[in-house]
């Protein structure tokens, strides 16, 4: 069958499981993006607006962390939240909080890095003007935040897109448990391993549609910035 028709059929069939899986994906992505927002914004502003020793090195580290393989994050968090690990008593492994923690760590460097580069592009005279106008620290921070809101929005959408499409963290920390931690990407992986390529492909198209929508938003945001 045509995978595009298959995707359409999946959506139209009203299959409860498909909607639950798509919902789980969105829920995990929403929380991990939300949790990475504040620290991401704070670290991004710190890197962009404050001079301190090792700032360039820190920026380089952050930007290389955006390329961290999801399975490495998965493995690190796994050993942390396994019952035999330091945070084992929380019982987060193979449960939604585990996935959200892993995805938050995946999203964080992306948010920091994009906020940092976005703010660095702001006219340097912006801060100088504020200083000459006699704006205090708080006032300057408030103005930076105001200027940063589109940068932040675009950073968050990027992070959201990244965690929606990742499979390593969801698989290792969620365990692909049906009705519980199964996401769109782990379903695709499972269907592929079962040789159900058509269904996997249809799900892939569904996921692509969601990413596409998110990317359209990012582009709209960027276009607006220009």
């Amino acid at each position: 069958m045509n995978p595009f028709l298959g995707a359409l059929e999946l959506i139209l069939s009203g299959d409860r499981e498909i909607f639950l899986i798509a919902g789980t994906t969105l829920r995990f992505s929403f929380w991990s993006t939300a949790f990475s927002t504040l620290p991401g914004l704070a670290l991004g502003i710190l890197l962009a607006n404050h001079r301190f020793p090792g700032r360039r090195a820190a920026a380089a580290v952050v930007s290389s962390l955006t390329a961290l393989p999801t399975v490495v994050i998965g493995l690190a968090v796994y050993s942390l939240i396994s019952r035999s690990g330091p945070l084992g008593r929380l019982g987060w492994l193979f449960a939604p909080p585990g996935v959200v923690l892993g995805q938050t760590l995946l999203a964080l460097p992306i948010v920091v890095s994009l906020v940092y580069t976005g703010l660095s592009k702001l006219d340097a005279r912006f801060t100088e003007t504020l200083v000459t106008l006699g704006a205090g620290r708080l006032r300057r921070l408030a103005s930076t935040l105001f200027e940063a809101k589109y940068v932040l929005a675009s950073a968050l959408l990027n992070a959201f897109g990244r965690v929606t499409g990742e499979v390593g963290v969801s698989m290792m920390l969620g365990g692909n448990i049906r009705w519980y931690t199964r996401t769109m990407t782990t379903t695709i992986a499972l269907d592929t391993s079962k040789g159900e390529f058509e269904r996997a492909l249809s799900l892939g198209i569904l996921l692509l549609t969601i990413s596409l929508a998110i990317n359209a938003l990012v582009h709209a945001a960027v276009k607006h910035e220009e």
């Binding site: 639950l20 798509a22 919902g23 789980t24 969105l26 829920r27 992505s29 929403f30 396994s82 019952r83 035999s84 084992g88 008593r89 019982g91 492994l93 193979f94 589109y150 929005a153 968050l156 959408l157 959201f160 365990g175 692909n176 448990i177 049906r178 519980y180 931690t181 499972l190 592929t192 391993s193 079962k194 040789g195 998110i214 938003l217 709209a220 945001a221 276009k223 607006h224």
Partner: protein, 274 residues
């Protein structure tokens, strides 16, 4: 595009995510979630999807299935990341219990392993007298063999047969896939080559391949499954009551009957001890 559109889009995204946030299950027992670490053969054949809802409806528990290889499943039990394990590698299961990682091991069911290969059977294993003989013929012919290579129960079985044959498999003909059973069958189909598979998974995927059962029926290919609760003395946080309830149910008359009645394309996949 203006600012309003962007804000609107973000709001829509939040709303869609928030919408997806509902849906919590009703809780009957004090600790209703049981983590079951098991092999891909029980989950992907559809057996657990058939059995567990019966158990859940009866007891109010909710079983979370993590399907990995037997080696990984036992490791999850050892680290306290599962409450109960359902696996198929008897020697490792006994070692698991002996090491104090698990308690209350019980036999559940069995089926058998089969050797799959191209319909043309280039190594002529159809005429083999035993599984060991069949493996010897494959190695002798240098015919492609795809190994799970993932410490799963099937992989352990395969290594046992090589060992019994006095062969240490290596070379271009021997491919270690490091993947689940279905994937390995599909890889063997694509190459084409031989592979050792459990009958349950084979019945679940056979319509998708051109492979044939080239050898079967040897006593050495017996494939028993056992269930073990994680040791509560070692992991007090484990859901011991839940593990116990699942073990009791699955080995009860009702559970065993359900296993016997599970069929795929009209064929029974797992058998219980009578």
């Amino acid at each position: 595009m203006n600012r309003k559109a962007l804000v609107l889009a973000l709001a829509a995204l939040c709303a869609a995510s928030a919408f997806a946030m509902g849906g919590k299950e009703a809780a009957a027992p004090a600790n209703p979630r049981i983590k079951l670490a098991t092999t891909t053969s029980t989950e992907n054949s559809g057996l657990l999807g058939y059995l567990l809802p019966l158990f859940e409806a009866k007891t109010g528990y909710k079983v979370d299935v993590v399907a990995v290889g037997t080696g990984a499943a036992l490791k999850l039990g050892e680290n306290g990341d599962a409450d109960v394990v359902l696996v198929h590698a008897r020697a490792q299961e006994d070692a698991f219990v002996a090491a104090g990682h698990g308690v209350d091991r019980r036999d559940v069911m069995y089926n058998d392993f089969i050797i799959l290969g191209p319909a043309s059977d280039p190594a002529g294993i159809g005429a083999a007298k035993s599984a060991v003989d069949a493996f010897t013929r494959i190695a002798g012919a240098g015919a492609t063999f795809v190994s799970r290579g993932d410490k799963s129960g099937t992989h352990v079985k395969e290594l046992d047969i090589w060992k019994a044959a006095g062969i240490s498999p290596a070379g271009a003909w021997y491919k270690e896939a490091g993947q689940g059973m279905e994937q390995v069958i599909l890889m063997a189909d694509g190459m084409p080559g031989y592979t050792l598979a459990d009958r349950g998974t084979w019945l679940a995927v056979k319509d998708k391949t051109t492979l044939k059962i080239c050898f079967e029926g040897d006593k050495g290919l017996f494939n028993p499954y056992g269930i073990i609760a994680v040791n509560p003395a070692k992991w007090p946080a484990a859901n011991t009551e839940g593990a116990k309830a699942l073990i009791e149910w699955i080995t009860s008359k009702e559970g065993l009957k359900a296993i016997e009645s599970f069929k795929l394309n009209g064929e029974q996949l797992f058998f219980t001890y009578k």
